[in-house]
């Protein structure tokens, strides 16, 4: 009997439209967080595309692209909750208006407040708050500070690995910027993220690989933002320990 790599036979049979329909069916039937997360990931490029086109049209408003993206993700989540796959309409056409609406509403609110924290600053603040929270902190303040610094560095590495694995990066190998060792490190980081327990893997993947803010991940996983912050810290601590020979 000849066998080849596991899963090839099943993959030969898979029909993407059916796989997606099955996710919708399970998500709507039992609110499964993993199905919701997979659907969210599936449609994130679509949301980003809308965010990109609106950002180019309204770049004069002074907001960052990251803000548009987060508003698009909020709209995507709302659309996912409201969509009824049994009606037979396509999700893209259903979600397009909601995503655009979410961005427009967000821009109006930002202008009203005139003090909108930009996404990049919010992201940095979320991470810092998460890592400096006192729960489970032990050791001297110097040790804790060092741990936070390493965790922040690990976060930057995760973002770098995310860019490398999302295919968004230019090939920098040719100019020698990315050494083989660094790419191996990115690969190890990415592999360790895959091994994190559920839902820590989802939090890290969404935040660092997909660039989703804590507040949107909280909506996605139906958890509080505080819980996401805890999971983020726990996951980074776990990764830090597993990757200590690199860091």
């Amino acid at each position: 009997m000849r066998r080849t790599q596991n899963g090839i036979g099943l993959n030969m049979l898979l029909e993407p439209a059916k796989v997606e329909a099955a996710r919708w069916r399970r998500f709507k039937a039992n609110g499964n967080a993993r199905d919701r997360s997979e659907l969210f990931s599936e449609y994130q490029p679509f949301a980003r595309k809308i965010a990109g086109s609106l950002f180019r049209a309204r770049s004069h408003l002074g907001m960052e692209y990251g803000d548009f993206e987060q508003l698009a993700y909020a709209g995507l989540l709302e659309a996912m909750e409201a969509f009824d796959p049994s009606i037979g309409s396509r999700f893209h056409s259903f979600a397009r208006h909601r995503i655009k609406g979410s961005i427009s509403d967000g821009l109006i609110k930002a202008n009203e407040k005139n003090a909108q924290l930009t996404y990049e600053r919010q992201k940095e603040r979320d991470r810092m708050n998460s890592l400096t929270s006192r729960d489970n902190a032990s050791g001297s303040s110097l040790e804790n500070t060092a741990e936070v610094a390493v965790s922040l560095a690990l976060g930057l590495l995760l973002e770098s690995a995310g860019i490398a694995y999302s295919g968004d990066s230019a090939d920098t190998a040719a100019d020698g910027f990315q050494s083989l060792a660094f790419r191996q490190l990115e690969h190890s980081v990415y592999e360790e993220v895959q091994k994190l327990p559920d839902p820590e893997d989802l939090v890290i993947m969404q935040h660092y690989i997909e660039g989703t803010a804590f507040v949107e991940i909280a909506k996605l996983l139906k958890l509080t933002k505080g819980r996401i912050s805890q999971l983020h810290k726990t996951a980074l601590n776990r990764l830090r320990k597993r990757l200590k020979h690199f860091l």
Partner: protein
């Protein structure tokens, strides 16, 4: 359970195949009169699947084998639907009752072949699918589907595994889930 007469079914199949009527509407109206006729429910599942209404198709497939656990063609097709949706465990559960079919029955052979395929046992998969094709003279469109799978298995076996890439199913293949054809001579695959 009130069943649709053979005459009505024949007329329905004829209307649907003519393409002159809205199939889903026509079938829905007949289903209103015979909501528990598993053949009609299965036909609706197949039609919805062919139109891409996959969530509702799943519901009707499930309903068909719930009403008639021994409607084996529906059971086989539902399992195949689940398998192609990435729900292999559900497919295996659905197919479990096909093991009660007599040895050498084409649906049992096809299901066995596909079980081997899930486990990447391509040689055994090809063997069982071929055997199924050789004995299936009841449901010829299904032979075409299985032959396509055999061809892909052979390609897989011929290629180095590290270069093997899963292909998207062709339109022609997807269209085979339009099972109206099966309501010809073999429409009553029940044992």
């Amino acid at each position: 359970m009130q069943l649709c007469s053979d005459e009505e079914i024949n007329q329905l199949v004829e209307d649907l195949q003519s393409g002159e009527t809205n199939g889903v509407e026509r079938l829905s109206s007949v289903l209103q009169s015979y909501p528990d006729d598993p053949r009609l429910v299965f036909m609706m599942a197949s039609m919805l699947a062919s139109k891409g209404d996959l969530v509702n198709a799943h519901k009707y497939f499930g309903r068909a084998i719930e009403i008639a656990p021994d409607l084996h063609i529906a059971r086989f097709q539902f399992g195949l639907f689940q398998l192609t949706s990435g729900e292999s465990n559900a497919a295996l559960k659905t197919w479990a009752l096909l093991d009660t079919l007599p040895e050498g029955h084409y649906l049992k052979l096809f299901a066995t072949g596909l079980r081997h395929l899930i486990r990447d046992e391509f040689d055994d998969c090809v063997r069982f699918l071929q055997e199924g094709i050789s004995v299936n003279d009841e449901n010829l469109p299904l032979n075409g589907d299985m032959q396509m799978l055999i061809d892909r298995c052979r390609d897989q076996l011929a290629a180095a595994p590290e270069y093997a890439v899963a292909e998207e199913p062709s339109e022609e293949q997807s269209a085979t889930s339009i099972l109206l054809k099966q309501f010809g001579d073999g429409r009553n695959t029940r044992h």
